[in-house]
């Protein structure tokens, strides 16, 4: 092999614009329009990642989309939960086991699971927002003794559109975490809460002065949630959000995901609230 060829071969895996080829090992149907894919590289092992980071998934010939990690860091595969909301995500959601897909990543910032050790943890998710938080939940539960109280508050559209319902029910069996689930509306068979997820916050059992909040969901839901957390005394420095914007290059070059003076792909998606508080409610940012 020539010297030049060797150089190219060595550079290629590190080039953030070149997708690596992954195989779909497993497809799990979560909801009518949502699947979870286990992806393993055709050669070698997957790179390490931090809970909260994302990959760019490439449906060949169609396009790329940013999808957060939703699996356990201890798992060999990258696990991504994908909702069919457009051409690219629709093509990815239709992939069958054995199919191949392009993947770039991991990119972005992670949840502060290490920094939050010693604190109470309140995890607040809405809809598919539970997916980017799930790796952090695995991490925290695997190291449960390092945290104070752990509370998970989850909001969903209705009981039949609840992501990871089986897993939520399993977590609920544990005696060392509190889980409250609410839905926007339900029929009379539902015995749980009905209402919005911020309404669960005042009743949740954690110390607002010693807690770190991890939030992911639709941005409107996150705005209401931040207000509710601030009302009970959480500081802006103890609130972390996973932001969503139109990620393209994923390394802070193209500017598609610019959010004020930050880039969501590089400075996020997980952002500490005090760093974005000034622009969080500004339109068109």
């Amino acid at each position: 092999m020539s010297m030049a060829g060797t150089d190219i071969a060595e550079l290629r895996p590190a080039d953030p614009f070149v997708p690596q080829i992954y195989r779909v090992d497993r497809v799990s149907r979560e909801l009518a329009d949502t699947v979870t894919l286990d992806l393993t590289p055709l050669s070698g092992s997957r790179p390490p990642f931090a809970p909260g980071q994302f990959n760019m998934l490439y449906a060949f010939g169609i396009g790329e989309v940013a999808i957060s990690m939703s699996g356990d860091r201890a798992h060999d595969a990258f696990v991504h939960t994908v909702r069919d909301v457009g051409a690219v995500s629709g093509a990815i959601a239709k992939l069958a086991p054995g199919a191949v897909i392009g993947l770039r990543g991991p990119f972005g910032t992670g949840w502060p699971v290490k920094e939050a050790e010693g604190s109470d943890i309140v995890i607040i998710a809405g809809g598919l927002g539970l997916a980017p938080l799930r790796p952090a939940i695995y991490e925290i539960l695997a190291n449960r003794g390092r945290y104070g109280r752990v509370v998970i508050l989850f909001g969903s559209r209705n009981p039949t559109e609840m992501l990871y319902r089986h897993e939520l029910e399993e977590w609920r069996q544990r005696l060392d975490i509190d889980i409250e689930v609410t839905v926007d509306h339900a029929d009379a068979d539902w015995r749980g809460n009905v209402g919005v997820v911020p309404a669960l916050i005042p009743r949740a059992a954690f110390d607002p002065h010693e807690a770190v909040a991890l939030i992911c969901g639709p941005e409107v839901m996150m705005r209401f949630t931040v207000n509710a957390l601030r009302d009970i005394g959480l500081t802006p420095e103890s609130i972390f959000l996973s932001m969503e914007r139109n990620m393209k290059c994923a390394i802070g070059l193209c500017g598609h995901c610019q959010f004020g003076s930050t880039f969501v792909c590089k400075d996020g998606p997980v952002m500490r609230f005090d760093r974005i508080a000034g622009i969080f409610t500004v339109r068109e940012i």
């Binding site: 598919l128 609410t182 009379a188 015995r191 809460n193 009905v194 911020p198 839901m221």
Partner: protein, 152 residues
Amino acid sequence: MATLEQILQEHPFFVDAPAELVRLVAGCARNHIFHAGEYLFHEGEPANEFFLIRQGKVALEIDAPGHAPIVFETSGVGDFVGASWLIPPYRWVFDARAVELTRATGIDAACLRGKCEADHDLGYEMMKRFLPVLVRRLHATRLQVLDVYGRH
């Protein structure tokens, strides 16, 4: 056995309330137990009483002909159920059903309205306790109708 005054004083709705206020409201109060599936009130009935929940959970629901009732909100421990007694014509506009065994303190609406009319300080104190909850519920309802978890 706790008196109605003690029970009310411990309810979050009356946190930091002056003892005199609690004593006046207790004069309009009585205790209830609702079993799972039992209704606290039905749409269209006179709104004669509202309820401070001490244990359990209450679903507010709308009966849609041809469909199962739709639950749009639940209230739990520390909440109050019912606001239609505050404004004429004092009729319930939803159904309220106990989801599980529910213990609540009911406050007679005409009794409390009369006391508030006679004692505006009491009325203002009550207003300061009701209004923030009602505004929070309004904000929550706005978020709820946005259907933020749906496909957009």
